[in-house]
Symmetry: C2
Subunit: 367 residues, 2 copies
């Protein structure tokens, strides 16, 4: 599959939704991708079947607070420096890269580095959405090591991390990301081709592109972009339930950049003032309560979208007065397994709450 | 020179004084050294003249808050793991190690690792005392790079840092030391033999041992250990002025573990209640004010010592009611050069104060 300019735009739209508010606003990554397209032509994305079992596959993406990424620009060499150094350490070439998370700008970020290394991106990712912490990747859930991992930043520093403990790895990488100013590039969970085939979440780049294409097409035809997006999500087979959980305007927002994350809470009120929604976030939206009752929670996807255009509004872009729909979607089944919920379920984020699938709660607004 | 059990005890006594309150209490390092002596015999310390110009010389020591080091024990492999990994990265064997700082437990720490690697320790160090931050080493002052550096911790994690900016290196290493629990081992500023000869502070292991031997000998003869120590300091040629700045008891102590350091202030009162001293510290004692007037400051050495035994009391061991002398000593001349004072003078620690040598202030108590 080759991604041209339109496909990049679609991927950015879809990844922004799958980011569940996080992963970074894809706007800057889209500009970079368009510039790279001019230089080198379309990006190559291949299926996992094309990969040898002994291939070296490397997930990568940005770590830090999206609030910082909006203001602190990269030097453009972070990903490639990290990947090249990993090649030195592993003593071999990298055969393909994958987004550590499909959500937000991290769904696009590996495309440039891959293009520059002359290698493809695989049609998969490590989270099926975006999550704030490294150990929330499916590769950790399945018992693979994050290390050796390499963190690089805009100043040109490079840090290699080696530990058997993926939680310690997250702590170390997070501390470094804070020390370099709040945002850094991370190459982690180096995989064999076999491990990528067995554990990565397949088809998510295609899925994100399809979701974005549905929104774009509906807009072009002046149809409802939300309805088109829900149909596209279901058609992916990965996100089988989706719908609107709230429709209103933002009446309150608390947000701080803390311990390397953007954390806070946003409050919505319906236009008739009769209903209210609260959404907690740690980079990503985690938990939605409507009139006091929980209506959706991690790992299900929760994204705030402009109610007219269906543009996703990442957590660092939330503003008082925005008129928005809060959209929920079922997470890929792989993230709802018992072992996965230990790392990405509500208790992993400190909630005294068992996971209830979004479609079981069934608190969709009527279309 | 071979260091036997008595010499290790002397080195610990002398290093504790030269630590200026920091570098960690040498008690635990002394126990480790004694155990290692039983296994392998005396430690080998050689002069820099014996070294080839193209040798690989590696400073090392512990980074973090001494308050933590008192409670969080090492796994015993940190130094050796870091040094061996550096050998892999540099593609050659390390010929000798040196203490990054002669002060406190860091003056002894490299002995075990060197013994296990079967290589000598050089009779020198990188600070001539102890300082809280990595860029305060003479090697940074002289423009050498801290990287590649390797940080290891008791859990077995290992991080390699590469950056051209030694201040960024300190930030990264400090962030990692906090993330691993407050204390870690750091291998940094890999040097050629020539660089070690040109820039290290020569003779400081011998100096620390001589200072400790003087205290021990005076105690054995029931002579004044302070007078013996001052004579020994002057005889080293490195610390040409020394004396007592205060004699009294601790009446107040504020101390917190913050941003990877032990920081605070200790207040002394004379026994007649007529005089008072305040001592600020950041791991090490930085600035002494007696009755409101500055009497000594970094980079000169400022150590609180038990007024009977002349045992040095590191900043993490200061307690209300301790009866102590505050002793000052001139720093090695190399630390008083203009370029050095940018990194280790009072302004480098946030004081709006130019450096005044301790002997110029001349506020010694009469013996």
């Amino acid at each position: 599959m080759l991604l041209d300019r339109q496909a990049i735009g679609d991927l950015a739209l879809g990844a922004a939704f799958l980011g569940s508010g996080g992963g970074g606003d894809p706007y800057y990554a889209t500009l970079l991708a368009e510039a790279e397209l001019e230089r080198r032509g379309p990006f190559e994305v291949i299926g996992l079947d094309a990969l040898a079992d002994d291939a070296l596959v490397v997930p990568c993406g940005w770590i830090g607070a999206p609030t910082v990424s909006v203001e602190k620009l990269p030097n453009g060499r972070e990903a490639i420096d990290g990947l090249r150094r990993l090649e030195e350490i592993m003593g071999r070439r990298i055969d393909a890269v994958i987004p550590i998370e499909i959500g937000g700008s991290n769904g696009l970020a590996p495309l440039f580095a891959a293009a520059r290394l002359g290698i493809p991106v695989l049609d998969c990712d490590g989270m099926g959405r975006a999550f704030p912490e490294s150990q929330m990747a499916i590769f950790n859930i399945r018992g693979l090591s994050a290390c050796p991992s390499i963190l690089t930043d805009a100043s040109g520093s490079l840090s290699l991390i080696e530990t058997d403990d993926n939680l310690a790895h997250e702590r170390l990488a997070r501390a470094l990301s804070v020390a370099v100013g709040g945002i850094a590039h991370l190459v982690e969970y180096p995989l064999t081709g076999r491990e990528a085939k067995d554990h990565a979440i397949h088809g998510t780049i295609t899925a994100a592109r399809d979701v974005g294409a549905a929104i774009r097409t509906a807009r072009g035809r002046s149809e409802d972009p939300f309805a088109a997006m829900f149909a596209a999500l279901e058609a992916t087979g990965l996100y089988p339930h989706a719908g609107v959980l709230f429709d209103g305007k933002i009446t309150d927002i608390e947000r701080e950049t803390k311990d390397g994350f953007s954390v806070g809470r946003v409050v919505f009120e319906s236009f008739d003032g009769a209903s209210r929604m609260e959404l907690d976030f740690q980079n990503e939206n985690l938990m939605a309560r409507r009139d006091g009752a929980v209506v959706a929670m991690v790992p299900d996807i929760l994204t705030v979208m402009d109610r007219e255009t269906a543009d996703s509004i990442t957590t660092e872009r939330l503003k008082y007065g925005q008129r928005a729909k809060v959209v929920g979607a079922a997470a890929p089944a792989i993230l709802r397994e018992e072992r996965a919920l230990e790392f990405v379920g509500p208790r992993a984020f400190g909630y005294a709450q068992d996971y209830i699938p979004i479609e079981e709660i069934g608190a969709w607004l009527k279309p």
